[in-house]
Amino acid sequence: MAVIVVTVGKTGRNYSSHTAAVADIGVGLSAADDITLESYNDDGTAIAESAFTVPAMTGSLTMQPAVGSGALGHPNDHRTRGAVALNVDPALGVTLEFAGTFAAMMTVNAAQLLTIQGLQFSTTGSRGRPFDITNTNAASRIEDCIIKQSHNLSNVSTVNILTQNNNVWVSASDDRDIMHVFSREITIKNTTFVNTGAQTAAIRAVNKTGGSQTLTITNSVHFGFNNPPLGTGGVLVLTNNATDLTAAAFGGTGTIGSLVPSDQLENATFALFDGRAKSTGALPDAADAASATATDILGQTRDASPTIGAWEFLSAGGAVALAGVLAAVSAVVGAASVTRALAAASASVSAFSGTLATAGQVALAGALAAVSVFSAALSNARALSGQLISLSTVAGSMTVLRSIAGFIGSTSGVVGVFSIARALAAVSASVSAFSGTLAAAGEVALAGIVAASTVLAGALSRAVGASGTLAAVSTATGTLARLLSLTGQLAAASALSATLSSAGAVVLAGALAAVSAATGVLSRARVLTGQMSALSSLSADASVARAVSGVVAAVSVFAGAMSKTVAGAAFPFVRIQSTLRNAANIIARLPRV
């Protein structure tokens, strides 16, 4: 058994999709090896996947983003996204996208060790779903992933993975659960489940459909489900979850119920989803610390009072955010003056940390504004410094002379008359000392911070603009994907219709022939039935028939005799004729045999 690492991405990688990589397991890749698929975000777009099935392996399979960035600089790992919306974003990490219908993107039905970490999954097709994972090794895990299902008829996934931590599931399904599990001890921690569909059926975030094992869901968010998780056949343990149902309807212990999703998440809508907890909501500090995951979906260490859901609202969140600011400052200022710059910036930043600690994300905006103000002040100071330096260097100018004259005027009462030269020397010395102090205290730092501030302001501005654009693109992409899916379905339906029509014509012709034949048979059957009825009636009147037969015979004899008589003797012809007519009438009324 060897450890094999292969790459997946769009530029110069081993495989262009996870579908192709998995298809090679058992062919080009040994199923006995421990295989890691390292994924790259080479162009900022999702990797199109088809339905793929992981074959039975005696080794293990790990799916995770590579460290660093792809070919065009997009980060491979969405967990490095920083303080932006927590949503599937192909520009910020690897996204596996599946447009198939009535199928799962990834199927696993063998007991190998499976690890899925730090990836984004997106399904767009009707009855499409990301996973049908029915069997895995007991140590298998899925964590730190964002999974989004955009079709309103998205289907339920089966996720029989025992450890599921820090995932975000967002679905627009009208009528299906997020996931089913069965016959496993499943533990789900700090996961954010959100459904935005119409809830036209009873839906749940998690539905355990069978088996006597325990399903444990802890510190998780359940918004948009009209029913609580279900643990059919086994034990259901719900602790410290948050829901928009009433706490009584949801059940469990420590449940925070009757929440309004838009009050709890930065954005609870599907298109602009942002799964981060609002600082003003009930989720921060509400999780059970003993059972919470050590880190959140972005890898941030959870604090002593952890947050319910995948993302941790850090009570020291401001400091963490400011660490990012400092890092940005460091990158901009450069190595030479970084130490002094950061020392000065650090002192200033620490002054903001208290505010940031209590106000979190909102405070970050405030902190940035404060930094901006601080930067402006420092910029002014720098300008003053420049002016003073100018004073020193252009002492012969009229401005300087006026300043010096003023200075001399203000000091002449005390020190008497000084020569201009001495005044100049003193001013020059003061300016020099002040300039040196400024240089030591933060001139370079100010330059760095101002530059950083400018860069940050530009980046924030672009981010705000890009956010709107991305939202629009996301909406348009979703619409296009649905249109493409619909077009495919229509084409398939058309082909099927043609086939059915053709087949239907053949079948109809056969059916018509059969009906015609059956009609003939039925017709004949009806005639036979009539005949049988007549026969039956005739049989019942056998004596009558026999009598009539005798009459006929008698009439025949009589007719013969009469014929002879008429021919040979004088017999009243009229009487004979009447008798024959009567006999003929009797015969005519007899049923035909």
């Binding site: 262009s16 579908t19 062919v27 088809s50 199928a103 039905n109």
Partner: protein
């Protein structure tokens, strides 16, 4: 133009992956990986003689993208998992190119380059929809109306 990544070898007996199964599709010029396309393998600095030939690329210029998505619909056939405890999973391609029926010239080109270009009609003649067990040329030949 569409391109299909096609398995060149069977992974196991049916219902496992078979030679000719369509793994996935992509638009013209798709950035196939070094283990997927022979030219990418060589571009990565590997010897042509070492090309593992586990997959081939089939290019069909007249296949539009919707058709490609349909043909590349998956390497797995599922039933809808209304009963997820007992899903029906058939792990082989929904669509399969009959690589064994390539002409001598076509097969030679495939061996030499690891990829081949087919006309629309030729592709449909070689492509089987496993759901119906029919070649696409037969399916498309059904009378309309």
């Amino acid at each position: 133009m569409s391109e299909y990544l096609v398995a060149a070898r069977s992974r196991g007996a049916l219902p496992d992956f078979q030679a000719g199964d369509v793994i996935i599709g992509g638009p013209d010029g798709s950035g196939w990986g070094s283990r997927e396309r022979k030219s990418a393998w060589i571009a990565a600095g590997r010897r042509a003689a070492d090309w593992p030939a586990h997959t081939v690329i089939v290019r069909v210029p007249l296949h539009n993208w919707a058709k490609t998505l349909e043909y590349a619909g998956g390497s797995t056939i599922h039933t809808d998992n209304t009963d997820p405890e007992f899903p029906v999973i058939l792990a082989f391609g929904r669509f399969n190119f009959a690589l064994s029926e390539l002409s001598g010239a076509e097969a030679a080109a495939l061996d030499a380059n690891g990829e081949i270009e087919l006309t629309d009609d030729r592709a449909d003649a070689l492509l089987t929809d496993r759901r119906f067990g029919l070649r696409m040329s037969i399916i498309f030949a059904q009378p309309q109306g």
